[in-house]
Amino acid sequence: MVRQLLTDFEDVEEVNKQLDTMGYNIGIRLIDDFLSKANVTRCSEFRETADVIAKIGFKMFLGVTATVSNWNADFTECSLVLDDNPLVDFVELPETCQGLYYCNVLCGVIRGALEMVSMRTEVKWARDMLRGDDAYELRLKLIEHVAEEYPYKDDD
């Protein structure tokens, strides 16, 4: 799939964006699949959310668990470190694609899923073994909780 995107778009930055968008579209559906299978109650704070993603979410859909670390001072940003990333089995990045985030789809998935439970987030790769780093690390940042609003205008 990534190879096809590279052929279609040629520009690595564009492919990164496409992967993120595709991931987002997956994430907004994945959340219902996750909620129906995992027996979790609504998370009361972001720390709990990060734990649930790392331990239950990743386990359910990728078969691996991640560790949560590097919290910032007010607990709105953290890192999810993956020891093993099944998406990149047998993958190597050639010279021409050094700017590519091969697993960018994962960022979109997490962002999409969290948006459906009222959290706006930013998810980026901090470390990527395909690019020469020593681990796979996602940086997860909570931008805001979006409160549930009454959707109808009163004059309708």
Partner: protein
């Protein structure tokens, strides 16, 4: 003498977090006083307020962050019983039934996990946030609901 079992299920609504009615399924409803749009808007609006109301007047919750939020799950009148379930993703499932039926919380969970998620969410032709019409969903729902009568 063959007696046709009167269905105990009256109708079902599925709403998403934006108030969009994704699905309306009816088995037995002889009275409908409003147009479908008004009916759905009223249903959603009422449940939104009711949920907020039940949480606010909860006499036992300490109000601290660690307690799970209070949510109502049914109400009954002399002619029908309304069952409600809301997921963390904002999907609301409402089922109107015969007033004598018992607690259907597990049934609503089953409808969400095994019918909605399986036939709608996982359907590649479905656009999230839009109303859906899916034969497999309808069939699975009818089949499941028969087991509840």
């Amino acid at each position: 003498m063959a007696l046709a079992m009167a269905p105990r299920m009256r109708c079902l609504y599925i709403f998403n977090r934006n108030g969009m009615c994704l699905h309306y399924h009816v088995w037995l409803r002889s009275l409908m006083t409003l147009s479908p749009q008004q009916d759905q808007k009223l249903m959603f609006g009422m449940l939104f307020s009711l949920n907020s109301f039940t949480a606010k007047i909860d006499p036992v919750s300490s109000g601290k962050e660690n307690n799970p939020p209070c949510s109502f799950y049914s109400f009954r009148t002399n002619t029908y019983k309304l069952h409600f379930m809301e997921t963390a993703s904002g999907i609301k499932i409402i089922l109107l039934t015969d007033p004598r039926i018992g607690d259907l919380r597990e049934a609503l969970m089953h409808i969400y996990s095994n019918i909605y998620v399986e036939y709608v969410v996982k359907n590649p032709l479905y656009s999230p946030g839009q109303p859906f019409r899916c034969e497999l969903f309808n069939m699975a729902l009818d089949h499941y609901v028969k087991t509840l009568q």
